[in-house]
């Protein structure tokens, strides 16, 4: 490990939220265009929410698109149909995702391990078809259109979401809050419980932890965070495509997490960034993006299961004593 890298990573590990936010602050200037940065920010949050359930608790859900989509649609519909303030619309989006998460989680947690993935995929499809059919509210196949937030004054500045840079930093505010929350939870006693559940469910139960209830709680938290990502996405795109709810969108969260590094704090962002950047580049070169991403995903599963950031952290852990993960 390069001699400079170890102390840097140690510093990052100790102040993970701050480090990530610092990085995200300068991030737009690293990207070829700002809209990509916004996209990565949003999907990074989506992956963080998913990672809470998969990377940290060990539950592989294929239904998380439901939360991204519900967040998007409920925020969108609040703005388009109910003409609510965008902040309220976001709150509604997050709340609704949490609720759907509670319902889905209640049904899905009755199953274990390998069934969980199938059940969550199928339950997610209920949400997909539900929104697809409710054309009057959701626009059906064409999606929801017209999710626009008018420019407004704040602290003497004019905030206009048509400017991608402005949009980015406003959304970063939300992401910062979410990341702070996630970090707090992971560092809390509850965080130890969910990791114990991932390591050995039976053992955790034998210690006296109510595994089912803990799982449900993480599920709802995870759903709410993905819902926030969805809410931001609706505002970002000004439309909500119906495919937001399809299970392939769930698969995207899985891929991003694995690419970046499951069970690490920063990994999901790395994964989202790599995935979306690659998509941006590859789709200009070839039509066969699906084959490319599928192959990369398989390669990572076979040879780099810890992901990009995860592998880096792994080497850092071996260079130092086993301590807190980033």
């Amino acid at each position: 490990m390069a001699p400079l890298l170890t102390p840097v990573l140690t510093l990052i590990a100790r102040h993970r939220v701050l480090s990530v936010l610092l990085f995200l602050l300068i991030f737009p200037w690293l990207m070829p265009y700002e809209a990509l940065a916004v996209n990565i920010l949003i999907f990074g949050l989506y992956a963080v929410g998913f990672n809470l359930l998969f990377g940290y608790t060990g539950m592989l859900s294929f239904g998380h698109a439901a939360f991204l989509g519900v967040g998007s649609y409920l925020t969108g519909m609040s703005i388009v149909h109910a003409h609510l303030h965008w902040l309220i619309a976001i709150a509604i989006g997050v709340g609704a995702s949490g609720l759907v998460g509670a319902l889905m989680g209640h049904l899905a947690i009755r199953t274990r391990g390998i069934y969980f993935s199938m059940v969550t995929l199928a339950l997610g499809q209920i949400v997909y078809y539900g929104f697809y059919k409710a054309e009057r509210w959701t626009g059906g196949e064409n999606g929801l259109r017209g999710v626009t937030v008018p420019a407004f004054e704040f602290a003497g500045l004019t905030i206009d979401f048509t400017n991608p840079v402005t949009k980015y930093y406003v959304m970063l505010g939300f992401v910062a809050i979410a990341l702070g929350l996630v970090s707090r939870i992971l560092a809390s006693p509850f965080g130890a419980v969910i990791e114990a559940i991932r390591e050995n469910e039976k053992r955790a139960a034998a210690c006296g932890y109510d595994v089912a209830r803990s799982k449900l709680l993480v599920f709802v938290l995870s759903a709410a965070i993905c819902g926030l990502a969805g809410s931001l996405r609706a505002i970002h795109l000004s439309v909500v495509p119906i495919d937001s709810l399809h299970y392939l969108q769930s698969g995207q969260a899985v891929m991003m997490c694995l690419l970046g590094g499951m069970g690490t704090f920063f990994g999901p962002f790395v994964g989202a960034a790599v995935f979306l950047y690659l998509e941006d580049v590859v789709t200009t070169l070839t039509r066969h993006w699906m084959a490319v991403v599928g192959t990369i995903f398989m390669v990572f599963i076979l040879f780099f299961p810890r992901g990009i950031w995860g592998s880096l952290i792994g080497r850092w852990e071996r260079a130092t004593t086993p301590s807190a993960q980033t």
Binding site: R184, N200, C207
Partner: protein, 260 residues
């Protein structure tokens, strides 16, 4: 309840019944694993469940510890019916167990294993306090590690510990809940003679302060230290009583002919 269930020793007139099995039966498909077992276990009595292989000891143990439910019958703990409750509810009521096949958090350090177990009593759904600040929890965990002789191995991943050390770790985790009842399924399985002696000493120590029920098939180990023995055979209760009673019991001798 005619027959005297467990012989009273003069000193233990105060001891009351901690956990009781009433008419426990268990089938697995067509196979009858246990038939109508009724036993009362007294508090602060070191008791062992013994019997030949296939006698149903592990099944009975699993029912007592809440891992599986009986097909019929009930389990009472301190007078309350706990049959069929979730495993974590058993743990919360003060029943701790160590598994037959060592079951620890392999990737976590030994210290973290115990710390997680201790944490259960203090802060379960706390989302916000940094757990590193729960100093009391960490200290208790360290003390427990010392108790079982693993103080210096705290930072090692539990999966890297020697077999006997992992079993000791499990005992530490079981103790973390400060249980009134400690259930141990073949605690010395796979241990060397030295490790076995250490474990049996620890068990004797623990039995002085709380109730311990063992499942063991090494007769010699339990004869010396247990107050009461329960003998199972083909899923039925064959005999129960003090080691002397059991040794003299003709049924038991017949069943164990040729075995230690």
């Amino acid at each position: 309840m005619n027959a005297p269930l467990i012989q009273r020793h003069a000193m233990d007139v105060q001891a009351d019944i901690l956990i009781e099995a009433r008419h426990i039966s268990r089938q697995f498909g067509a196979f009858q694993a246990l038939t109508d077992i009724s036993v009362q276990f007294r508090a602060k009595h070191l008791c062992a469940i013994i019997g030949p292989n296939g006698a149903g000891k592990s099944t009975f143990f699993n029912i007592l510890s809440g891992a599986i439910a009986p097909s019929s019958g009930s389990v009472l703990f301190q007078g309350q019916d706990i049959t069929g409750l979730e495993p974590h509810e058993y743990a919360r009521r003060g029943i701790a167990k160590s598994f037959q096949i060592t079951n620890v958090f392999k990737q976590l350090s030994a210290h973290e294993n115990v710390r997680v177990a201790v944490q259960m009593r203090h802060a379960r759904f706390d989302f916000f306090s940094p757990r590193a600040k729960l100093a009391g929890v960490a200290q208790t965990a360290q003390a427990l590690l010392e108790r079982v002789g693993l103080a210096s191995l705290g930072q090692k991943p539990a999966g890297d510990l020697a077999h006997g050390q992992q079993r000791s770790l499990e005992v530490a985790m079981a103790l973390a809940a400060d249980p009134q009842l400690l259930l141990m399924d073949e605690p010395t399985a796979g241990m060397s003679p030295e490790e076995t002696t250490v474990m049996m000493d620890l068990i004797t120590e623990l039995a002085a302060e709380r109730t311990v029920i063992l499942v063991e098939h090494k007769m010699k180990l339990v004869m010396g230290i247990c107050k009461t023995l329960i003998v199972l055979h083909h899923g039925q209760l064959l005999a129960q009583g003090s080691p002397e009673d059991i040794r003299a019991n003709p049924e038991v001798r017949r069943v164990y002919l040729g075995q230690g």
